[in-house]
């Protein structure tokens, strides 16, 4: 891979309740590529993703040392530094969870939610952004006539694509996906795999996956999480 580096993890150490999960990790992630992370359950894959958008900070008794840099507009930004607020960081670094997690509201309101958080209310602009993000997530045709129905009426695969679209609406540069297809059937999973490959042109993706065949289909780089560190596959 000769893409430039987008994310740089420097000497990162992390523990829950003083039990180390990572020790002195150094790692680079390439821009506009899919990096897959595999490894046994409980090794810290989800935890690792949460270090890149600071979501772990809501957990009690968690402790981190080291640095994480991301390249934004040609500048290396320390995501734990003062230049970038947590909400702004999380708009730049989107996250999709293992189980689709639409909010208990309509499809439209789910999509508008991240925009509402920033105070964007101009309807035409909001609508345009929502339409664009739904198209990018291969979901527009399936939901354009039911935007005001509850998001829970969608199938699992559609819900997961809605969650991807909802993350895309803030135009993130990095997308973290934690086992995004593990709750879906094979058909729905393959739609999402195609989608992720297409999203490379917009974002840098890090995908946690249990499935080695999935990794070989979509990943540009694969890493295996072993006790306290990453190994190339």
């Amino acid at each position: 891979m000769d893409n430039p580096v987008k994310i740089r993890v420097e000497n990162l150490t992390f523990s829950y309740h003083q039990t180390p999960v990572f020790e002195h990790i150094n790692l680079d992630f390439n821009a506009h590529a899919i990096t897959a992370i595999t490894g046994p359950s409980g090794r810290g894959k989800s935890t690792f993703l949460s270090l890149l958008n600071r979501l772990w900070e809501s957990q009690p008794f968690a402790k981190m040392e080291g640095k994480v840099w991301i390249l934004l507009d040609g500048q290396w930004v320390d995501i734990y530094g003062k230049t970038l607020s947590k909400p702004d960081l999380r708009r730049k670094v989107g996250m999709v969870f293992q189980t689709p997690n639409p909010l208990p509201m309509s499809i439209y309101k789910n999509m508008a939610f991240p925009l509402k958080l920033t105070g964007m209310t101009e309807k035409a602009l909001v609508d345009a952004k929502i339409t664009a993000a739904l198209r990018q997530a291969f979901l527009w045709d399936e939901v354009k006539d039911r935007l005001h129905d509850s998001a829970f009426g969608l199938s699992g695969g559609q819900q997961q694509r809605l969650c991807i679209a909802r993350a895309l609406v803030s135009q993130p540069e990095i997308l973290l996906l934690d086992e995004p297809t593990s709750s879906l059937d094979a058909g729905a999973a393959s739609v999402i795999e195609d989608l992720l490959v297409r999203l490379k042109e917009r974002c840098t993706l890090i995908v946690v996956s249990h499935y080695l065949d999935q990794v070989s289909r979509i990943a540009d780089t694969a890493l295996k999480l072993e006790a306290r560190g990453f190994l190339p596959v």
């Binding site: 009690p60 997690n101 909802r166 086992e179």
Partner: protein
């Protein structure tokens, strides 16, 4: 062998306990109905005054329960209305901002407050009224406002604790959804966590309504009287159903008066039932569609 006998005993005993409980409830309600229903009627509530005149406050009702019903409703609505914002905010603080140590300390305080007998809270309100009378205004005496504040203290711990429990019961998946989309902590609380906890919070409010409606000890010391008419001002005395029941059963002069006490008890139950039903409707309306399964940040 022993275990089997023990198991059998436990079963019979638990069954008996359930039976006693159900029997008591039925007996209580039945007794109340038999005694109270004959006195129920327009006259019990409005006396000799025309219903419309009474409701529109054109004529004062002297020999009916209308002022007591109005008094009880005012006390409940005002004290619960006062306790909700304070209690919910305290619950939010406990669940979302307090450290583990603060949760322990403040939690203990709320539990102590919840355990204080209502007569003591009443006494506290009474002393407060005396204090104001002595040092601030000679015109001040126990009144609706004092009762409302004292009752709000009585029910605050319920609302705080249920709010806290409802918020803390939300799984990481619910908590992280909006945060991951760039919500601040406060946005997350208002847009996601509170709406998802409404149903739990309303259970606390229902408890509080019941507690305020039935309480006699607090109001007896803080402003309720036997005849005051419809409550007209926060600084005036008022009547209330539980106090009427207490008063009539301790000083009745003939059987008919006692009967009206039973009637008042039925009406008190009715008032509570209506308030509970309203709260239940709100709960159903606000709770909205169920969310996805709750779970820990998966492993």
């Amino acid at each position: 062998m022993n275990i089997r006998i023990l198991g059998g005993c436990l079963r019979v005993f638990s069954w008996g306990a359930v039976l006693v409980l159900t029997g008591s409830v039925l007996m209580l309600l039945g007794y109340l109905l038999v005694k109270g229903v004959p006195s129920l009627g327009r006259d019990l509530i409005f006396g000799q005054v025309d219903v419309l005149d009474a409701v529109l406050l054109k004529k004062r009702v002297f020999d009916g329960l209308f002022p007591a019903i109005a008094g009880t409703l005012s006390v409940v609505v005002l004290s619960v209305g006062l306790a909700i914002p304070v209690g919910v905010c305290a619950g939010i603080y406990m669940s979302e901002f307090a450290t583990v140590f603060q949760q322990r300390v403040f939690g203990l305080m709320f539990d102590i407050l919840a355990g204080i007998p209502s007569i003591v809270i009443g006494l506290f309100g009474f002393s407060g009224a005396i204090f104001i009378h002595k040092y601030i205004s000679k015109d001040f005496r126990p009144c609706l406002a004092v009762s409302v504040v004292a009752l709000a203290f009585l029910v605050l711990p319920y609302i705080t604790r249920t709010t806290q429990a409802a918020l803390q019961g939300l799984g990481d998946q619910t908590r992280q959804a909006a945060l991951a989309l760039g919500a601040t902590r406060v946005q997350n609380i208002f847009y996601v966590l509170l709406p998802r906890s409404v149903s739990g919070i309303l259970s606390g409010i229902i408890l509080a309504i019941g507690r305020c409606a039935e309480d006699t000890a607090v109001i007896m010391l803080t402003g309720v009287v036997a005849t005051a008419g419809i409550p007209g001002s926060l600084l005036g005395s008022y009547e209330a159903l539980p106090f009427y029941i207490y008063y009539i059963s301790s000083q009745y002069t003939d059987a008919a008066e006692l009967m009206s006490g039973y009637g008042a008890a039925i009406i008190l139950l009715g008032v509570c039932a209506v308030l509970f039903f309203l709260a239940f409707l709100i709960k159903r309306h606000v709770a909205g569609p169920a969310g996805p399964a709750r779970g820990r940040f998966h492993g």
